[in-house]
Symmetry: C2
Subunit: 331 residues, 2 copies
Amino acid sequence: MERKIKILGTGKYLPTRRVTAAELEEKLGLAAGWVEKKSGVSVRHFVTNETAAQMGAIAARRALEAAGLSLHEIDCIVCASGTAQQEIPCTAALIQEELQLSKSGIPCFDINATCLSFVTALDVMSCQMAVGIYERVLIISSEISSAGLNWEQKESCVLFGDGAAAVVIGRTPETESSRILGSSMKTYSEGAHYSEIRGGGTLIHPRQFAQGREADFAFDMDGRKIFRLTSQLITGFVDRLLSSASVTKEQIRTVIPHQASGMAMRIMAGKLGFSDQQMVNILADHGNVIAASIPMALHEAIGQNRVQRGDHLMLLGTSAGLSLGGIVLEY
Amino acid sequence: MERKIKILGTGKYLPTRRVTAAELEEKLGLAAGWVEKKSGVSVRHFVTNETAAQMGAIAARRALEAAGLSLHEIDCIVCASGTAQQEIPCTAALIQEELQLSKSGIPCFDINATCLSFVTALDVMSCQMAVGIYERVLIISSEISSAGLNWEQKESCVLFGDGAAAVVIGRTPETESSRILGSSMKTYSEGAHYSEIRGGGTLIHPRQFAQGREADFAFDMDGRKIFRLTSQLITGFVDRLLSSASVTKEQIRTVIPHQASGMAMRIMAGKLGFSDQQMVNILADHGNVIAASIPMALHEAIGQNRVQRGDHLMLLGTSAGLSLGGIVLEY
């Protein structure tokens, strides 16, 4: 199931406001050092006035610049975020508006698999391109996690940050070898309630916020249960993904993991047998930026020359659902 | 861009509670006959205790039964709805849980293009199947519009209903000719704010509901502006879609339109030159069920023998965004 798709450019945007571990320790009445030790995050960014569409549009412009493309060379815009800007319409349309493409007709829709939204969107859109529907697609993950944090749940609220990342993909020229080699996603809804925001949709409408249901509108996570279920599944999942892509673990030059938490990433690397050299870790100065974590880590790895054309990469993550997802590609 | 994909089965679920035009006229203090005249809707259904995942799971079981398939023969579940059950996780995972597939690993994610979510999901997933990623995919649209209606905006609140529809698609056997012949989507965000729910996402968080922002959490629609923009675009859009599919208007046996409103459907048919015989209209006893409208109308048309194998169909709709979308297929 190879698809001759090439990552043409990447971009990111971080909100101007930096929030340090020390600031959160003061806010939450925690001992100095607690936040970094528990989360692995020294600094994250929170929006002040930035909207998801604005952040997404800036990241998109930067990705296009890196690709040497103009806005009008894009023929589809997909927003791949775990959070939405509004209930209606989809965030991709709001990003199109920010990009001043409002009369362009460029199709816009959202794909949501929480933290795996980018991986799912890349998988899905590569197939649309392989079939010949689109030539160049912009995938944008823009997340404002700070809006929905539960400040009573200290272990989760210190993990997250806001920000956006964008990736432009196009068909690989005949003479080049960039391609997706394999992909996989698995969902185990036995873990559907291990991490959730119960409110905000049609089950618990925002009008119930004022009726004593505040906690239902904040992120609720049971890290231990997620860890236990993920641990059972991740090794087999990665082995099958590699085998479907006909690539060995040693041939993977770089792993771009979801930046879930310091502990999750250490344990994942250990269980899977990936070295620190292989694993890209941007957690300390970004936090967990939900679906933007993977494209942002990819952007950083490219910027640091840790990813070269011809390299085999693995994008790998877990998400609420509970889902595991990954893509093996030649960059 | 043909894809040899076959619609194997469809199913629907309507909530038990029927809400008549007369009931709404009494609730809203309107003259007898106003609701039907303005909206074209005599009866719609509103949920009482049903959740989106429950409705979606029932529709899914019915679609599988119609297809003669068991749950475990499905290898992907996509929820294609304009409304979500919860902020996190995606509704598809919650439907998987309702289907008691919680240990199955069947991948689950959501695709959102508001009222066009089903059309977009069918387009996208047919490409994943054409590339060989999946064999049989379940696409479910489950909508609870009644949670977000604006009862001050009489022209919009009388249009909508709740309900779910599901479609199972599979690869077409060698000896058969079912296939997607063409598809198109166009988004013009100049109309992004013509129909919206501004609240509920990261822009206006549910906590602001209690701070005098109630109206931001209800559906806000400017029907006249939507109508004006859509009217400018629809004829050219459909002509190009037909031409890309190499099918003439006369060869389209049945049009399955989004059930936006009585007036919208009449004007669309008139402008496009489709006859009443060609257009499927289930508005009067379903209302506008957001993204579920198109698969529900398809289900009804199949049940009424208005759609036969070998027929050319056109799925066609508009959505918040503002988007136009359509698929031409041989059933």
